[in-house]
Amino acid sequence: MSKNKHTLFSELVKPHLTSLFSTALRMTHHKGDAEDLVQDTLFKAYRALDQFQENTNFRAWIFRIMVNTFITGYRKAVKQPQKISYDDMEEFFLFKRLDENKELQETSKEEFLDTFFDDDIKEALENLPYQFRLVVLLCDVEGFSYNEIASVIDAPLGTVMSRLYRGRKLLQRNLWAYAKTRGYITDVTVARQS
């Protein structure tokens, strides 16, 4: 049972190309950079294939290579959001804001979430500092477990959790800001009643 290295690598990597590209795009913000990041990752992974132990987690292994490649080569080019304030970091932030709103008291808060466009969600993610964005992407979009994420980003479990929860809260805060500025929610109801 000897397959050549190239065939083996192709078979291992093909199921993950969409995930790698999608994550790369959310991290770099640009298609061209995302293509380059994925290609650099494939190149490094191929060269290092001997170090991958068969029947272990290939998906986590190659994501780890991509994260390292991003941090060493691409991070500096990525615009970080300017000052982030960590006020308003309460749990269930978005639910609570929607719940307080007069317009929405009779409607389901869950249904309101369908108001957001794909681009709102992408923008809310892309405006997170990259450390938080990465962990949210790995957990919510790619479905990695906390332990897998710890190995992908090479950080302790506690760091994974604090970045994930903080990232989600910032994401909710972004969505709340878009809901107000993009007219998904207005205060006109109050005015109309008078």
Binding site: H6, F9, S10, V13, K14, L17, T18, F21, S22, L25, R26, K31, A34, E35, V38, Q39, L42, F43, Y46, E91, F92, L94, F95, K109, E110, L113, D114, F116, F117, D118, I121, K122, L125, V136, L137, C139, D140, V141, G143, S145, Y146, M161, L164, Y165, R168, L171, Q172
Partner: protein
């Protein structure tokens, strides 16, 4: 054999708030999950908040993903893969 004290424990709303994210991600241990579910059964406000968090996670997953099919990036990456040596 006496029953463990843990079986009499109950979660309140503050416990639920504290463990909400781990619950959403299915990272609670069996006992925590049982107590969490038990609280949601009789506390509608907490249940609504948790359902909301689940839905938001689902929406992030479905809307943030970029399909890699039949486009230029896909061709480029696949041909790069074919030509690795």
């Amino acid at each position: 054999m006496s029953r463990s004290h843990a079986s009499h424990k109950k979660f309140n709303c503050a416990d639920v708030e504290k463990l909400a994210q781990r619950y959403i991600d299915n990272q609670l241990d069996e006992e925590e999950k049982r107590l969490f579910d038990e609280h949601l059964e009789y506390c509608l406000p907490c249940d609504k908040k948790i359902q909301f968090e689940f839905k938001l996670k689902e929406i992030v997953k479905s809307k943030a993903r970029e399909p890699l099919s039949n486009n230029y990036s896909s061709e480029k990456i696949k041909s790069f893969l074919e030509n690795l040596h």
